[in-house]
Amino acid sequence: METKTQPETKEANPMKKQRMNGSEAVIQSLLHEGVDLIFGYPGGAIMPVYDALYHYQEKLRHVLVRHEQGAVHAAQGFARVTGKVGVCVVTSGPGATNAVTGIADAMIDSTPMVVISGQVASPLLGTDAFQETDVVGITQPITKWNYQVKRAEEIPEAIAKAFYIARTGRPGPVVLDITKDAQFGMLDFEYNKQVKIRSYKPTFPIKKDSIAEAVRLINLSKKPLALVGQGVILGGAEDELKTFLEKTGIPAAWTLLGLSALPSDHPLNVGMLGMHGNYGPNVKTNESDLIIAIGMRFDDRVTGNVQKYATNAKVIHLEIDKAEINKIIYADVPVVGDVKQSLPMITEMVSETNHDEWVKEFRACDKIEDQKIITPELYPAKEGLTMGEVVRRVTEAYDNDAIMVTDVGQQQMIASRYFKFKNTRSVVTSGGLGTMGFGLPAALGAQLGMPERPVCLFVGDGGIQMTIQELGTIYQTKAPVKIILLNNNYLGMVRQWQELFFDRRYASTLLENPDFQTICKGYYVESSIVHKREELDDAVKKMVEHDGPYLLEVRVEKEGNVFPMVPTGASVSEIRLE
């Protein structure tokens, strides 16, 4: 964008343009977007931006992480609990490549994020200069949009565009790669937040006839089932969902990322879908005559074998991203658009009914699952501690109203199954990518985003070691995250698969762990360890009451398994209870 120097040519905008360099323009643009917290790590190619940050410390807080992957996951945690765009700043080359995992994670989980990477000066581009990598090339398939800024004058417009793209429509990560000379270059700064991109249509007006057809199918249905995805949370449509469900009496099951959109104790909440989800919603998917998918994308962890999925049902698919329609499951009635708009349109027209008998069938399934799985997990008769009982103690200690962050593995599935929620945006977990190491930095970001709410992280002994250095960031920020380390001495989820599908050949899943208590000491993070059931209540109490970050390590049963389970390739109705 070519900016003219004479302010009188732009009479519509009385704001006087300010002369500044590109780095200051980066900071000013972020402030115009309402950003007050960013995560990052400095280095040569981004130093001018850090220098500018120095002058804005009061307005724009920068959290120095210990590894760029941590910066991205922290920004994700922040974005997921606040609904705002997470922001991180990294240097060129290794700084940017370290951020790649987090960017891919944000892409697949639709997390709004802007990553600003420094780049070598533009005359050096393409010459294999020191710390040069093709960041735009590398991140192209894992970003919603990316762009290389080579001139200072482009900065305000590029940042406005980045934020607009990141937060609208189906959200996602945007990478802006800013060359060092663009950071140094001078410009006349002017910020226009509103951008219009003719090639980008974030959402679509809802088609009236698709609503009418959806309403017709819902009114006819005897056994409807609503599938709640993250789209409900991203669209801020939790109330609209509740109103729809309560008018129709339709039972609702959730995907991993749809968790907390509907309170856990809502009478129509029938539990989690998919591989380690609840028995009822999985089995009943194939008995249902109408699937109403709301802001979800039929991930293979949800559907199991797609050929044998929802075999008796018609499908209504409410989704903002047109490319998701018919991608995995054919939609008899696609309703493209924001669910915050489409849900009330359906609710208004649909007949008031209930499906009490049908909901009772789910409750009958719950009884079976309770007896076979939930009771033994939460109230074990055996000596060893289960992950489930720990999760239950923690959720109850917070009156079922904390933010739950998880890493990846058995502890993630157990936490998602047994943690309870009253409020939305209370879950931060790596769904689509399943990134070990996500938890610790994401918990930090979530806590900084929601300082008033308790944040509990459930993390395994494997995963914590992938980003353990962020204990340093947690110490430095004093973010009072509560870390529950469920130590089973194994890469538990992989070991479970080895037990079930590879004849117990435990190849490289046994961990010789460090002394996590000593590590915490080294990082000045308060901690304790629990070996026996008798110690658990007190330890949880101590953790909850501690004012500041805390790590509670619980030695759980080494070879515990997560059940129920839909084995790969099986139908959801073939879910195994043992």
């Binding site: 735009v136 090339g137 192209q140 398939p141 919603k144 949009w145 607009y164 793209i165 609208t168 509103q194 219009k196 991109i197 003719r198 090639s199 980008y200 249509k201 974030p202 959402t203 007006p205 991203d321 047109k322 490319a323 998701e324 329609i325 018919n326 991608k327």
Partner: protein, 180 residues
Amino acid sequence: MKQEFTLSIYSENHVGLLNQITTIFTRRHINIESLTTSESAIPGVHKFTIVVFTSRDQINKLLGQIERRIDVLKAFVFTAEEVIHQEIALYKVKTEALLNSNEIEKLVRQYGARILEVTSEYTVIEKTGHKDETQELFDKLNRFGVSQFVRSGRIAVTKLNQELLSNYLVKLENDLSILD
């Protein structure tokens, strides 16, 4: 059932778009039979013409993912009958072979090809047409030895009298709903 499709993809003229579009095909292991890029009749708007062999179901999924890219304006898919399309082929033969008999000259006439350049050593023949036609000429010429052969990607226009995109762009300009 697999069949041939021609895609017309309109985009902003940005660096890196070609890569953005082709990875959508390569991720799904769909071979691009031919690809041409050029300016369209609308200033500033670029056009990709891509030919692939795949199923209707698959092509619709691809279309969704292509249009999802921020800088892509719109993508259209056609079967061969729905568009007017052409390819251009160049054939290089020895001039000696041309002079030895009148066979090559006869082929050139018969196929509506033309001779682009004649030197004492070689002759370059050009033919535009559909792939099967340019291929047929190749097979026939090759009996006399074709030392070099090249065929361009397909280019195509629709049977409508405007760029399909024009209406869409006008609609976009008037549609304020895309602003949040």
